[in-house]
């Protein structure tokens, strides 16, 4: 309460730092030196508005990140103390870890499939539904529904569809396919089924973002191109597609982050199988190692590698795609 009172007293002064001709750190520092009473309200404002949110972020995200980083250099295992510093040994072990390598490759495969197919499918469907009548508005809602549903629910639905005696295979048998594929039980297929399920869920997100982009394309531009003799494809390539650059950026970064952290579908549907880790992902491997194996040191090294990969790939993609936006 005293902070609010401080604030009231301080703000009554007309010499607020904001309209000062030299903004930035230098300006505030000078203002602070000039009158020590400024510090009170400033601190009060910070602790009132910024501190609660920042504190939660520091305690539940930044400190845990630091702990993951620290643990990755130890042999921490709560059931096998004492914890000792092992330097880079965990990272060295990761290099030769066949399971982790497979999880990494699986994660990349899932991410690439999701990023490509949800983007392409989303764009095609958005162009199909880019009409203002009621039918198309209703269809947009249908495509968006899975985005609102939990990945667990989506996984159970698709498990019922794709399992060996599931709905898809009974349909296939009905039309005369004698030996339909084991979509989730065939080690060569299961990973692609998982990637398909994630693509299906993310499709509606891409549709909505592309539709917004399409609605931002001025009609006059299309007409001008048309008058200049541009055909349908030339109009798309030279007018529509460049205008969709921001939508492509958002979708691609969102899909990359979604693909990289794929976990729920694997936990619910395949538990990493069939066989040895054929659908295991990095996220799944980290959680298994930490909570089933209790090898916290080792799982932390995996987590650090995973975070470095996610951060690098999303930042590089973001920069590349944004540069494309600017040059248009």
């Amino acid at each position: 309460m005293t902070e609010t009172q401080h604030g009231t007293r301080g703000e009554a002064r007309p010499a607020a730092p904001r309209p000062s001709p030299a903004p930035g750190a230098g300006g505030t520092a000078r203002a602070r030196r000039r009158s020590s009473t400024r510090i009170g309200p400033k601190l009060g404002r910070f602790s009132l508005f910024a501190l609660p949110g920042l504190l939660a972020y520091v305690v539940f995200v930044l400190i845990p990140i630091g702990m993951t980083g620290y643990y990755s250099f130890t042999n921490r295992n709560p059931f096998n103390p004492p914890t000792k510093w092992v330097g880079l040994r965990n990272y060295g072990d990761l290099l030769g870890d066949q399971e982790f390598r497979q999880a990494l490759v699986n994660t990349v495969i899932i991410t690439v499939i999701v990023a490509v197919f949800a983007n392409v499918g989303g764009l095609l469907i958005a162009m199909l539904l880019d009409r203002p009548t009621r039918l198309y508005v209703a269809l947009r809602a249908i495509f968006f529904t899975p985005v609102v549903l939990s990945a667990v629910v989506i996984s159970v639905i698709w498990q019922a569809v794709l399992t060996d005696d599931g709905l898809l295979n009974s349909l296939l048998r009905g039309i005369g396919v004698d030996d339909p594929p084991g979509w989730l039980s065939d080690p060569d297929l299961a990973l692609y089924s998982i990637a398909w399920i994630i693509t299906w869920q993310m499709l509606g997100f891409c549709v909505v973002v592309y539709l917004a982009g399409l609605q931002g394309v001025p009609r006059e531009l299309q007409e001008a191109a048309s008058i200049d003799g541009a055909g349908r494809f030339a109009r798309f390539r030279n007018v529509t597609w460049p205008m969709l650059a921001p939508a492509l950026t958002i979708n691609t970064v969102m899909l990359l982050i979604t693909g990289f952290k794929a976990y729920d579908q694997i936990q619910v549907i395949t538990n990493g199988g069939p066989g040895a880790g054929t659908t295991s992902t990095m996220a799944f491997q980290v959680v298994q190692t930490a909570f089933n194996g209790n090898h916290i040191g080792y799982s932390s090294a995996m987590a650090a590698v995973m975070l470095a990969l996610v951060a690098t790939v999303s930042v590089v993609t973001l920069r590349l795609l944004q540069r494309r936006e600017v040059t248009q």
Binding site: T4, Q5, G7, T8, E11, A16, R18, P23, T28, R45, L48, F49, A50, P52, G53, A56, Y57, V59, F60, V61, P64, I65, M67, T68, Y71, L135, I142, F143, T145, V148, L149, S150, V152, V153, V156, I157, A160, V161, L167, S170, L203, V208, V209, A212, G213, P246, A247, K261, Y263, Q267, V268, A283, V286, V287, F291, S299, M306, L307, V310, Q322
Partner: protein, 276 residues
């Protein structure tokens, strides 16, 4: 595909693609209201006459997996998004207006948090919660949600605060209003569209979260409905009717919540999309 000569083609393709896409969801909805014995032989048939047996079975489970899960989910989601909206609006406002270097550093640090996958920090989070004595409690889960999702709230609010004229705040200050009062009575009401987006986005995400409540609430104390779906399939894998009914009931509240605020949701989503 010229619009005039093939005007019938677009609606036909659109309806066909939409129907194919919707088929899995259709199968769930019709089979919720069908007797268990009819699901496997006639999965796609309409439930005629419809039965509420599956729904009843979920609601009257002896272990109360659904009812307790529902109460927990509502409590966790409602409290998390209320706290998140208030805290990230205040923080977003502070960061958007502050010109100090420290505020820029805080902003960049928060934005980095948008990329961090839960598994990377989950084990240390359990350590932090144990230290605070909040492991396997709803309060602990709510606090973790607040910390994890605050960057997203701040991102949305910061973009929006810049569209609120500074003069409004200065006028209120000149009239003698405290900083807190300026925020609550002038700024926060103007941020309503951003608040709606934050509420809906985070409401849907937190309701649907799986791994975080699975680990943080643990197996003994009650869990959320989303984790409940996972527990339910473990028990009766083959009883599609019961599993579908559980999923249907677990999804209904968040679907209603989403539909009630849908206009703002898509607006918020695309507002950011177009501006980049």
């Amino acid at each position: 595909m010229d619009d005039r000569t093939h005007s019938w083609l677009r609606p036909l393709v659109a309806v066909f693609v939409g129907a194919a896409f919707f088929l899995p969801l259709y199968l769930v909805v019709v089979n919720v209201f069908k007797p268990g014995a009819e699901i496997v032989p006639h999965p796609a048939a309409l439930p005629l006459p419809p039965t509420l047996d599956n729904v009843d079975a979920v609601l009257s489970r002896p272990d109360n997996l659904f009812t307790f899960g529902l109460i927990n989910s509502i409590a966790v989601t409602a409290l998390s998004i209320t706290i998140l909206t208030v805290l990230s609006a205040m923080l977003g406002h502070y960061l958007a207006r502050s010109k100090r270097v420290l505020a820029k550093v805080a902003m960049v640090t928060l934005l980095c948090g948008l990329m961090i996958p839960v598994p990377v920090i989950l084990e240390p989070i359990t350590g932090v919660l144990k230290t605070l004595g909040l492991m396997t409690t709803l309060q602990g889960l709510i606090l973790v949600n607040v910390g994890y999702y605050v960057p997203f709230g701040v991102l949305l609010f910061m973009g929006f605060v810049r569209s609120v004229p500074l003069e409004l705040e200065e006028a209120a200050e000149l009239d003698g209003a405290s900083k807190l009062r300026v925020f609550w009575q002038v700024v926060f009401p103007l941020l309503r569209p951003a608040s709606a987006s934050v509420l809906i986005f985070l409401g849907v995400w937190i309701w649907n979260d799986f791994l975080t409540p699975l680990i943080l609430l643990g197996p003994d104390s009650g869990t959320t409905v989303t984790v409940g779906v996972y527990r339910a399939i473990g028990q009766h894998q083959s009883d599609f009717g019961a599993v579908f009914a559980f999923m249907f009931l677990a999804t209904l509240p968040i679907l209603v919540f989403y539909l009630a605020l849908q206009k703002n949701f898509v607006k918020g989503l695309t507002g950011g999309a177009v501006k980049g």
